[in-house]
């Protein structure tokens, strides 16, 4: 669903919404879209303000960051 949304094709988005309605229900689909919207906000706050990783996250995320290539993001701030 998230990738359908960021892809921007309204037909594909509607297909995913219908699939979610059939599988998890309308309320869950709405809440999923709400979470997507929230992280459209939080990512913009973090990246617009130069928010660094929290101290407790730096070490425990090292393998994850490497596996997913997160350290290569322009927004990487280590």
């Amino acid at each position: 669903m998230v990738h359908a949304i960021t892809g921007g094709d309204l037909g594909v988005i509607d297909q995913h919404k219908a699939l979610m309605d059939d599988t998890i229900g309308v309320d869950a689909r709405t809440d999923a879209i709400a979470v997507y919207a929230n992280f459209s906000m939080m990512t913009r706050i973090a990246d617009a303000t130069g928010t660094p990783l929290d101290a407790g996250s730096t070490a425990i995320s090292e393998t994850l960051r490497a596996d997913l290539g997160l350290d290569d993001f322009i927004s990487s701030r280590m």
Binding site: M1, V2, H3, I5, T6, G8, I13, K17, I24, G25, V26, D27, A28, T30, D31, A32, I33, A34, V35, Y36, A37, N38, F39, S40, M41, M42, T43, R44, I45, A46, D47, A48, T49, G50, T51, P52, L53, D54, L68, L70, D71, F73, I74, S75, S76, R77
Partner: protein
């Protein structure tokens, strides 16, 4: 879908969208945030805060433009007499369309322009308030867009001067100044403008989970999505936005 525009009798200038299928707390959070946009802020007037949202909405219509095409560099993109300074318009567009491409150098150039442009307000703190308007409106508008709802109409600006309330803050680990406080770094990010930070929090709580449950109750959910499913959507969105944090 039972969508319609309703006008609050007590505040006719601030219409709200009501949808019977959407949680009331979500609709209330959206309506409250948008209604307050018309009020004078900490560093921007009500008219300027509404203009910031207008620019964010205009930016979304140009989402395919690359990040290096700042609107101030394109002939005819910004009309004469625009209520916002050019640096603010450029920042709104970059944050709206390409948040994952912002860098410390980009931020420094924006603040350099703001400090040169503004004579009666603090550039860095004005920028923080701008972020605190643009980012929640991205959430509210993108939610409406995906749900197939009309975007909330913007309120009429209320006359008055910004409060210019500036608690003690300094540049520490963020690019922007922050106050000394406990909590996750992303919740400190807007702390130099407390009113703006406070306005954002109900939007987050209604979309995601209550703030005290983010790390305090890892099983909290609304009985629709499990917490694990919520975090999966959060992670996928952050990845799609190439957000390192």
């Amino acid at each position: 879908m039972n969508t319609h525009v309703a006008h609050d009798q007590a505040a006719p200038a601030a219409p709200t969208i009501v949808d019977a299928d959407i949680r009331a707390d979500l609709q209330d959070a959206h309506a409250s945030f948008v209604e307050a946009l018309g009020d004078p802020g900490t560093w921007w007037t009500g008219a300027e805060r509404v203009a910031i949202v207008d620019e964010a909405r205009r930016a979304m219509e140009h989402a395919q433009r690359p990040p290096w095409e700042a609107p101030s560099t394109i002939t005819g993109m910004i009309g004469d007499g625009h209520p916002l300074p050019l640096w603010a318009i450029d920042a709104v567009w970059r944050i709206t369309n390409h948040p994952g491409t912002t860098t410390a150098d980009w931020y420094a150039s924006i603040i350099e322009q703001s400090d040169a442009d503004l004579t009666d307000r603090d550039g860095a703190r004005s920028y923080v308030e701008l972020v605190a308007v643009v980012a929640p409106m991205n959430a509210i508008d993108r939610f409406a867009d995906v749900m197939g709802l009309a975007r909330l109409p913007l309120p009429a600006p209320v006359a008055g001067a910004p409060s210019r309330h500036a608690p003690e803050s300094s540049v520490q680990r963020h690019w922007v100044p922050t106050v000394n406080m406990a909590g996750a770094n992303v919740f400190k990010a807007l702390s130099a403008v407390p009113a703006a930070s406070a306005a954002m929090r109900p939007v987050s709580a209604s979309h995601y989970v209550p703030e005290d449950a983010i790390v305090g109750d890892l099983t909290w959910c609304r009985d629709t999505l499990s917490r694990a499913q919520i975090e999966l959507v959060a992670a996928a969105t952050s990845m799609a936005n190439e957000c390192f944090y």
